[in-house]
């Protein structure tokens, strides 16, 4: 389908007609989205994508992206919107297959900027091996949104015999993280104009489904997988301890944190275990699986700096503790209040 008339992608801006359901909207969908996400299901032009789906365990998820600023060192809202949803599927042990994409555009957003983010989504989808098969566009008046919000939903297939779940951690299990903590949060902070901080850190945003595929091949019975987003490792551990009815102990000296991130956290009074990530995961595995899992993680480009960081304990109070670098003990609590708004 093609609608006549030109869309000025170089100098044009989103206006209210682009969400009005008329010709201008059709032009926008045609000129911006359909080309970038090119695939037969989207090209069919129906309101709903149609596809055949083999039986078996299936997972579905959705997430909205409101990050500010829209572009930051190492990524942008487009890459985040694909990777974040792919990672929610991947950490369910699934092979991500299809995504949807809903856009809320603010009147006045330059079309060139929109195209940039949409192409970033397309590249991220291609890298992750997923297709964006259906979508939606809305426009709101200037001042009613902050440039661009994106929602993506995703659907994936779980291989037989794989079933990580947040309630499966057992005392004695090992905790592994896939790489350095806090890169995304510090990258966003350094991109905020009001914080004069140049840490030289780029976001870790990445699709983790390739890494997860290697991990479940090496240890199909991996107990828990969780991508580390808002609230960082601390929030993930506390959520999982609650869900599984266990405690956890982290080893501070074993936590991978880049020097620059540690320095930025020091200045800002943050703890790297609370800082957000967008391309890191926590895995919990039975003691007998831990070595094989760690080796598989380190063999993948996104897990090269993976580390064994602690273990699951028997604690009916479900507390997450840390052995400090000095040989003392402390808790690793949830974050109180809000550390950083609109991190993803």
């Amino acid at each position: 389908m093609s609608v006549g008339g030109r869309l000025d992608l170089k100098h044009g801006r989103v206006d209210m007609t682009h969400g009005g359901g008329g010709r201008a909207m059709a032009r926008l969908i045609d000129g911006v989205f359909r080309d970038a996400f090119a695939n037969p299901r989207l090209a069919a032009g129906n309101d709903a994508a149609a596809f055949d789906w083999p039986g078996g365990r299936t997972v579905m998820t959705t997430d909205s992206y409101v990050v500010s600023p829209l572009a930051f060192p190492g990524g942008d809202i487009g890459a985040l919107a694909v990777n974040g949803t792919v990672n929610d599927l991947a950490t369910a042990g699934a092979v991500p297959v299809y995504l949807s994409a809903g856009f809320v555009l603010e009147e006045g957003l330059p079309l060139a900027a929109l195209c940039g983010y949409v192409h970033s989504m397309a590249r991220a989808a291609e890298a992750a091996g997923v297709e964006i098969v259906t979508g939606d566009t809305k426009v709101v008046e200037r001042g009613k949104a902050d440039g661009l919000y994106i929602n993506t939903a995703g659907i994936g297939r779980v291989p037989d015999g794989v079933g990580p779940s947040c309630d499966r951690a057992r005392p004695g299990d090992k905790l592994l993280v896939s790489g350095p903590l806090g890169d995304h949060g510090v990258a966003i902070l350094s991109a905020r104009a009001d914080l004069a901080l140049d840490a030289g850190i780029v976001s870790d945003t990445a699709a983790l489904n390739g890494l997860v595929a290697e991990m479940v091949a090496a240890a199909p019975d991996v107990r828990v997988l969780r991508d580390l987003t808002r609230g960082g490792l601390a929030a993930a551990c506390n959520e999982l301890a609650q869900a599984s009815g266990v405690g956890m102990t982290l080893d501070q000296a074993a936590l991978p944190v880049r020097r620059e991130v540690a320095a930025a956290c020091e200045v800002l009074g943050l703890d790297p275990v609370h800082v957000a990530n967008e391309g890191r995961l926590l895995a919990i595995a039975a003691p007998g699986d831990a070595d094989a899992l760690l080796a598989a993680m380190r063999a993948h480009p996104l897990g090269r700096e993976a580390a064994l960081v602690g273990e699951v304990t028997d604690d009916d109070r479900r507390l997450v503790e840390m052995r400090t670098a000095f040989g003392g003990r402390r808790l690793v609590d949830w974050l109180n209040g809000e550390q950083l708004p609109r991190i993803c």
Partner: protein, 380 residues
């Protein structure tokens, strides 16, 4: 990470822990107070309490600005923020402190009051400059560390002739609070808490120096060690106190020599002296009315004093009767001694001010150490 990693060396910490164990006399008990909330936080965050001998107890002091602010002063700020045309500027922690009837600056903001969170006093001056039609009030709290920035803001506003800027001043003085704790609330000899030594505050001392503490060593026989905020700083300062006690000495020693000069920072002290005057008395949460313990604006800057510019009735508001923040702030109780601790009072829904700021003893104990049940028997 220069200047931090050197002070976080695990093997050096173990060496200090061994020195502490060797120095501590097993036949006696020691109680040292870390006055400053920053030190309280560091002790908890790094798990340092586990490195101390079993017969050495750290008593948490009142050096947390948000914690010692009486509810009545907070009520004044909330009432002021709700007036039309007023923008109230406050540091982040104070926004969440509960006042009476569940009110806070944060809830006032949600109801439409113009409350701005700032990270520097000069932001309030800039706001007054940008919004000449509004009354911009800086809700100034804190010890001598945050006082010079407030003074600078007042001088800058005066220099620019910003008639719409004022300060609701709650700045308090460290030595006066230390004296109250060592002398007892009813006068000398009624000290509630047996304190064998004081870990002196690091940041405050960069401003006031170490001389104001001499009286505590001389007149109260209390050893003082002024410490930095890194783990090794604290362990070393505690060792210095332990050695003084064992030798029967009481002196003011400076562990934080890389930042503190005994005479303090002359520029900052002169600035404070120009802009502020001593109040006769001031109410502290936990310590009650303490004479000559707080500052107000000097006559020369009376026009910038929000208490004089606005008619602010002084509210006397009682704390929640079950909350023992007052005892915690005097070192007379530990956080888990409170019935509300971690049950009705948590960092998400704080009832007492000690649960709000990360420097508050209750918040630190909750965040880092609530695996510890009620404290072991208090020092004799």
């Amino acid at each position: 990470m220069k200047w931090t990693q050197e002070f976080r060396d695990g093997s050096l910490a173990q060496g200090l822990a061994e020195a502490l164990a060797a120095e501590a006399d097993p036949d006696r008990r020691y109680a040292f107070m870390e006055f400053c909330g920053g030190h309280t936080h560091a002790l908890y965050e790094h798990g340092l309490l586990d490195l101390l001998p079993g017969n050495l107890r750290m008593v948490h002091g009142p050096g947390c600005p948000v914690c010692v602010l009486p509810i009545g002063r907070l009520e004044q700020a909330i009432d002021l923020a709700k007036r039309p045309g007023v923008t109230l500027c406050a540091y982040g922690d104070v926004l969440r402190v509960p006042a009476s009837k569940g009110r806070s600056l944060q809830s006032a903001r949600a109801e439409g009051a113009e409350v701005r969170m700032i990270t520097s006093a000069l932001e309030a001056v800039a706001l007054a400059r940008q919004q000449p039609e509004r009354e911009v009030v800086l809700f100034a709290i804190g010890f001598e560390t945050t006082t010079p920035p407030t003074a600078l803001a007042v001088e800058q506003a005066a220099g620019e002739g910003l008639a719409n800027f004022s300060v609701l001043c709650n700045h308090v003085l460290t030595p006066a609070a230390m004296r109250r704790i060592l002398a007892g609330t009813e006068g000398a000899g009624t000290r509630e808490v047996a304190i064998d030594g004081l870990v002196g505050p690091g940041h405050v001392s960069t401003v006031i120096g170490t001389q104001p503490y001499e009286t505590f060593a001389r007149d109260f026989g209390c050893p003082v060690a002024v410490a930095g905020f890194e783990p090794l700083d604290l362990l070393q300062a505690i060792l210095m106190l332990l050695r003084q006690v064992n030798a029967g000495r009481a002196a003011v020693e400076l562990q934080y020599g890389r930042a503190v000069r005994p005479e303090g920072n002359r520029t900052a002290l002169d600035l404070m002296a120009r802009v502020f005057a001593l109040r006769d008395r001031f109410e502290w949460r936990g310590l009650g009315e303490v004479p000559q313990s707080a500052l107000t604006l000097a006559e020369a800057y009376a026009g910038f004093d929000a208490e004089r510019r606005f008619d602010l009735p002084e509210a006397q508001v009682q704390d929640n009767p079950a909350c023992i923040c007052g005892d915690v702030l005097r070192g007379a109780a530990d956080p888990p001694d409170c019935k509300l601790f971690a049950s009705a009072c948590t960092p998400d829904r704080p009832l007492g001010s000690c649960m709000v700021s990360p420097e508050g003893a209750c918040a630190a104990h909750y965040a880092y150490r609530r695996f510890d049940a009620r404290r072991e028997a208090a020092a004799p």
